[in-house]
Amino acid sequence: MTTVVSVLWRYTPLLLLAAAWEAVTRLHLISQNALPTLSSVIASLIRLMTDDLAHHTLVSVTRGATGLALAIVAGTAAGVLMAWYRPVRMVVNPFIQLLYPLPKSALIPLTIIWLGLGNSSKIALIFIGCLLPVVVSAFNAARGVDHLLVWSARSVGASDREILREIVIPAALPEILNGYRIALALCFILVVAGELIIANNGIGYLIGFLGEAGDYRGMFAGVLTISLIGFAADRLYVLAMNRLLVWRG
């Protein structure tokens, strides 16, 4: 009970924003053509839920989760190995430097030409986009591990591989997990961007479709849906991360 109250209290500013949204649209301070009332958006959201909103949401979440998971696995391995083994760094680094300043959305048309309109083009885009923050954070984290921790393990007879697994990775974990969080946020951007430009399902597609059809309430309902999912995903992630890193005290 107290947690419910404290959560409500913490998000009071958001509740106030919702109230203000409802008020300014009701009072016609902002035209309802530009911004439909919140209540009508919610009504539209409920109507869409009985329709195909769940389907499109599931499609988008699956794409996002797949791309992100691949990026996390590949990116963490690449980042840590780059930090630990000089030859890996020399081979991988130029690609990272090339990819870093590249606007990932510029790749959307390319991924579509190569991989089609379906899942693979979206997943590839998310993978590439999310890879960078993961690699960069894993690399910096693993490089930044206090060398005395490594020495300490070495002096009791730990092998190189044991040191990597038992010392370097746990020591680097907080920073690695922060990189994942950035990637999580990016994955929402990329999934919607990819689907908005060209796709035949997914929440981004739905937002674009409803917008073009003139159903602004429905469009807002789509935006609201993806925002809420993104928000919930981030909060859950932070919760899990703090639980995993209790030792930080």
Binding site: L148, S152, S155, V156, E166, W247, G249
Partner: protein, 280 residues
Amino acid sequence: MAASRPATTPKPLESSVTAPSAGIVIDNVMHEYQPQRGRAVLALDRLNLEIRDGEFIALLGPSGCGKSTLLYLIGGFMPIQHGRITVGGRAVTGPGPDRGIVFQHFALYPWKTVRENVLYGLTKQRLTRDECRDRAEHFIKLVGLTGFEDSYPSQLSGGMKQRVAIARTLAIDPDTLLMDEPFGALDAQTRALMQEELIAIWNQSPKTVVFVTHDVREAVLLADRVAVMSARPGRLKEIVDTRSLRAANADVAETPEFVEKVKYIWNLVREEAIAAERHQ
């Protein structure tokens, strides 16, 4: 050619050294740091030092004189560029559990509890799970941390963290204990307490200890001999015997002999500290 050197080495050898020394022999060691850019810095220059088995030796000298470098070379953490170091008759080629190290800033694994920190090194030795557990428990008790086994380092004070580090190192029972300003990061009272405890622990199980410090009093209080090093590049300036002043109790620190010895060593260090300042 490793262990028994001919007795004609131009060094003041102990009579006991006819058999391969179980202590530490530092023979003509030089060490140079090569920074990313700029000129190489000579940290140690042709240093010779012999540490007897079971002896507690303090390394004293101005900042940057290479005390820690020497300790890390004995530990095998850095390659020996020139000269040689033998520990217990065997040439040092890398780190090993025969030489335990305690660092100034503890270097505990922050994601491991007190017990897990002590256990980590034990699990790398040839011990059964029960032996590991018992040893960990014993050494946690020895340093007075019973009741804190499940605490994380972030929940402990500086003094407690250093106790964990000492317990962790003692638990694997190294023949040699390398201590790099272990009490340097602690406040004065905690430091005094830890010095007393170290003496008590060392009396229980005497090991060869190489103890790097800035603190002349601490050196005289703890060590059998104090090796004073020169300003960079580090060389051995003088070895002062302080065995008679090793503190069985803190009262020793009040005697005129103690005060006199501290003053004498402080003057040696002072000359070098001034020289070091000029070089900056």
